[in-house]
Symmetry: C2
Subunit: 280 residues, 2 copies
């Protein structure tokens, strides 16, 4: 792997570039992004130059798609027919089934490896990128083809960056993140929506740090989330259904004064979930 | 106000003692608590000595009840008939209607001022107490009697400590915190319970910082929360109902691909909620 093209130089793409550099990658890292993102990526050292998608496609060994899900789908279409042999394409999209299916349709003879780093933070953009953003975090890969030398090389860089590679099918990935990522987001957004509808004006005044924590995710960009949820609709609906069933159980527990067991179950599960590593 | 008795020297009681001291209170601060709590309160300087409830009741100008809601109710019963005139009793309980009603029944001729500082953090106990825990935070008072000189003196200390005093009726307080405090707690616990029921073992493995944030409150003590919810059941059930209705709207928005507006509403509300002050 000598030349890497990062398509979408934002928080994830920028952090990938910085992490490669920190681990001793000495090749070129070409950014394909909007002028402000290129400028942010160049100033933090995440990329070494910029190019159009066509130019990048012609010269890179790895094309790393770090855009929002809907833009990844469009980029895959744009790459159709213009990639030389032996290029590896990988992505960092938050859902996998639609993207992997699109790649199979548009790039049938291209080495495509779906991926999803479970990393992030509130800020966006390359200016928020960190070389250690992925360190210690799960990084899902959804290989559908036998591993190529290019894919093996990419995986060895991921290992050096310090991620925990976890292989699963695109379907299993999407069902899992519906529960662990999409549901928490929707719960937070729904809490903010519920409070926005309240006639009692005191709700914007009388609250503690618990509320601000629980609506933090609700501040997330709808442009980012709409395509994620659109490309994982059945699994997300299943997750909301499971959650609504839990709320009905909670109501019953509250009515019958048997809340202790309900709380205990939640508390045990929450305590076993390892918190994010410091700095994440 | 020359002698203060803090009943329950935990995070809230300890922080109240430290805050008084920081603001120049020079009187005695007597702790009424378990031996480990007294010892923690003495070593951090939140209290200057300890006594039984009866001894404290005989010598204090202010009795500050900083226990969990169910224990506050029990302490009010124990104080019945043993308080000299002109003592002020105030509390820091998370629900107000039951406590204020109990005080009216058990302490009919006593000056009782219900209160609730909207402050807290994950750790418990006097060892986690901070002089500035209440600083800049809302502090609800639910006066039901004309203000006495003792109550005016207590309020002036609260103002010096830097809280934002907000007066409301016990009923309005309980309806408001059902939405802004009890609902966020229950949403977090229900998320953890939902994930604990998942057959898909990957849910404990594939997640990002969003999930750990959203199940942080679920780690809270059920001993603390059961009495809070038990003493605010109708308002809490109303809050869960409102939230469940929002989830049904979310499902409809997801089915009809009209999520952008739903997200926008949540995002606008969440952004207008001021985050906790640093160090809180």
């Amino acid at each position: 792997m000598k030349t890497v093209a990062i398509v979408g130089v934002g928080l994830i793409g920028g952090s990938f570039g910085l992490a490669l550099r920190r681990q001793g990658f000495e090749g070129e890292i070409i950014g394909v992004s909007s002028p402000p993102s290129i400028s942010a990526g160049l100033s933090c050292g995440a990329i070494t130059g910029s190019a159009s998608l066509e130019e990048a496609a012609a010269s890179a060994d790895l094309i790393y798609l770090a855009q929002p899900v809907d833009r990844i789908l469009r980029t895959i279409e744009q790459l159709s027919g213009i990639l030389p042999p032996r290029v590896l394409v990988s992505d960092a999209g938050s859902t996998k089934e639609t993207i992997v299916r699109k790649a199979a349709a548009c790039l049938p003879s291209v080495d495509f490896l779906g991926g999803h780093p479970l990393a992030g933070k509130e800020q966006r953009g390359a200016q928020a990128a960190e070389a250690n953003l992925f360190f210690g975090k799960p990084y899902v890969l959804t290989p559908v083809q036998p591993s190529s030398p290019a894919a093996a090389d990419f995986r060895s860089w991921l290992t050096r960056i310090g991620v925990r590679i976890i292989e699963m099918s695109p379907e299993e990935h999407d069902a899992t993140v519906a529960m662990t990522s999409h549901l928490p987001q929707l719960i937070s957004t729904s809490l903010a929506v519920t409070l926005s509808r309240e006639q009692n004006g005191r709700v914007s005044e009388i609250f503690g740090p618990g509320l601000t924590d629980m609506v933090r995710l609700a501040k997330s960009s709808s442009e980012l989330w709409s395509p994620i949820l659109r490309t994982n609709k059945p699994a997300v609906l299943t997750a909301i259904e499971a959650y609504s069933a839990t709320l009905r159980d909670l109501q019953a527990a509250l009515e019958s004064d048997t809340l202790l067991e309900f709380f205990e179950t939640g508390s045990v599960w929450a305590r076993q979930v390892r918190g994010p590593t410091p700095g994440a």
